[in-house]
């Protein structure tokens, strides 16, 4: 049954107890995202060090289990990775959510892949895809430090 795939334990856990849900003090990049259809919002804070590495990352926001879990897993995952790796991971994830059956990035270990694949249940729920991708698009703009607000309507998800 599809619902079980969508609301797996990992999603419920991250949705309920999201990791990195706070505003870090020493962020040097940030961006906000907004889904006008449902009102969901996310604010991503990044600390990128001199070696272009994600030293720290956190987020604030409210949203459904899917979007909170997605932001939570994402922030856990990219911590410690460098910018190019992160960008590659983002595009791998978005490709997977859009069409590809699997993740193929070398920059994600197996355990994290399993976690991310838990989000693939949304593929059967087209209206919910935006929930899963909002934080990822917002991360892209945080990295690019583009101060524009990300509006999921505009996005190619």
């Amino acid at each position: 049954m599809n619902l079980k795939e969508l609301y797996q334990e990992i999603i419920l856990d991250h949705g309920k107890n999201p990791r990195n849900l706070k505003k870090i003090e020493n962020f040097n990049n940030d961006a906000t995202g907004h889904n006008p259809l449902c009102g969901d919002k996310v604010h991503i804070y990044l600390n990128i060090n001199n070696n272009n590495k994600v030293e720290d990352i956190s987020f604030e926001g409210s949203g459904c289990a899917i979007s909170m879990a997605s932001a939570s897993i994402m922030t856990d995952l990219v911590k410690g990775k460098d910018e190019t790796e992160v960008k590659e991971i983002i595009s791998d994830f978005l490709d997977m959510i859009k069409e590809k059956p699997e993740l193929s990035s070398k920059n994600i270990n197996e355990e994290d892949k399993t976690k991310l694949m838990c989000l693939s249940g949304v593929k059967k729920y087209p209206m919910r895809v935006k929930c899963a991708t909002l934080s990822w698009h917002t991360l892209t703009s945080a990295i690019n430090n583009s101060k524009d607000e990300i509006n999921t309507e505009k996005m190619d998800t």
């Binding site: 049954m1 599809n2 619902l3 969508l6 609301y7 419920l12 309920k16 259809l37 449902c38 009102g39 969901d40 919002k41 409210s62 949203g63 459904c64 289990a65 899917i66 909170m68 729920y125 919910r128 929930c131």
Partner: protein
């Protein structure tokens, strides 16, 4: 027609959703259509179609008469004084834009105030916001109380000698609060302020009597009233329609057209530029007949029973919180569940065929006030039954189970 088995007049309920019967609780968004209305569209297109008003051939004359017949039916149904006070629009949104634009053009200048409420749908705020940007008017918001109501006092408090119009909803699409339209209008008129009522949510559920309410403008969406999509109604007192400038320009709304000037047609043509939604207007006559056959008192009684039952059931359900607690309430049950986001609720309910809406319901101002980004909303139509409410409740319990709540 007996309201207790009215569902069978609506063919959609033969459809299966994920192998379940459809429990349609999204009527505040748009209502389902009875077969008589659908058939009328079919028959009109297959046997009688022509554009109205412009040609003198048989089909055109017949279509024009049918079109005008709906206008008369609407006039009667809402008890307007004159059939030319009924203007067909593409929706309630256009109806409100029409008033904001034309009233704004003629009567508003910098510093003037429009008074709306915190309950308003974006359709009754954004058009006024355009005037704020263009003309420098101010928008004041009457405040909603803890029960999700707008009282006459909350309106009165915000009226100043700069208030040029008061615009508010008859029935909130989130809290279900029914506003005291007649009293607010009396108050406004005592200060020579005209009143626009957003009747989107009230029109399918309450008795409509324009002469009794005495408001200046009343906006209706036909698709929420068991009618076709792409159609709305602006009721406006004749003096306003005569007084205000036209809104859209085009064929049919003119008198004489010269290179250096134009005179406009008489009512209601002046406000119906271009080819209108002919088939939809003609079919809407069947919606009115359908409602008249059931009888608005039966509708109100049926829906009141459902509302009472629904409120009772949901109140008893642990973790479920109703949004708003207005003394006079209609057709809308908005709620939240602690620990489950409305989007997740809607998705899980949908799996059982229970269709509700989750989101801000085009009322971000109200949601901000309530400190919520989103609510779940079950809204009722004449076809709903206590059985539907029971199914809603069962599916809510399923949500709770999935999310490990009690």
């Amino acid at each position: 027609m007996n309201i207790d088995n009215i569902k069978k007049e609506f063919p959609i309920f033969n459809s299966k959703i994920h192998n379940n019967d459809l429990v349609y609780l999204d009527s505040a968004n748009s209502s389902q259509k009875p077969l008589v209305v659908i058939n009328r569209i079919y028959d009109f297109y297959t046997k009688e179609f022509s554009n109205v008003g412009r040609s003198v051939h048989y089909l055109a004359v017949a279509a024009t008469n049918l079109y005008e017949k709906t206008r008369s039916s609407v006039q009667k149904y809402i008890n307007a004084k004159d059939k030319n006070e009924i203007v067909f629009t593409k929706g309630a949104t256009e109806a409100i834009n029409l008033v904001a634009n034309t009233f704004g053009q003629k009567y508003l200048k910098e510093g003037d105030e429009i008074l709306i409420t915190e309950l308003e749908h974006h359709s009754n705020y954004v058009p006024w916001h355009f005037l704020r940007k263009e003309k420098g008017i101010k928008i004041k918001f009457a405040e909603v109380n803890n029960d999700g109501e707008i009282t006459i006092e909350s309106i009165e408090k915000k009226i100043t000698n700069k208030t040029k119009l008061i615009a508010f909803t008859h029935l909130s699409n989130v809290t279900g609060a029914i506003l005291p339209v007649k009293e607010i209008t009396e108050l406004a008129h005592s200060k020579k302020i005209p009143v626009l009522v957003d009747g989107c949510q009230s029109a399918p559920h309450l008795k409509l009597d324009m002469q009794d309410l005495d408001c200046d403008f009343y906006a209706i969406s036909c698709h929420k009233m068991y009618g076709p999509t792409g159609l709305g109604i602006l009721y406006a007192k004749k003096k306003w329609l005569e007084d205000l400038p036209p809104y859209q320009g085009g064929g049919g709304m003119i008198g004489q057209v010269k290179k250096d000037g134009i005179s406009y047609g008489d009512l209601p043509n002046k406000y119906e530029a271009g080819t209108m939604a002919t088939a939809q207007v003609i079919a809407f006559d069947e919606s009115i007949k359908f409602l008249e056959k059931i009888g608005i008192h039966n509708i109100m009684q049926h829906e009141k029973q459902l509302m009472d039952y629904g409120e009772e059931i949901l109140r008893k359900n642990n973790s479920v919180k109703l949004v708003g607690n207005p003394k006079k309430k209609g057709a809308v049950l908005s709620f939240t569940i602690d620990g489950i986001h409305p989007h997740d609720i809607a998705t899980i309910l949908d799996e059982d065929g229970v269709a509700i809406r989750a989101g801000h319901h085009c009322c971000q101002i109200l949601h901000d006030k309530l400190g919520l980004t989103s609510t779940a909303r079950a809204s009722l139509g004449i076809y709903n039954t206590t059985d539907d409410i029971d199914k809603l409740n069962l599916s809510i319990n399923k949500c709770k189970k999935i999310f490990n709540l009690k």
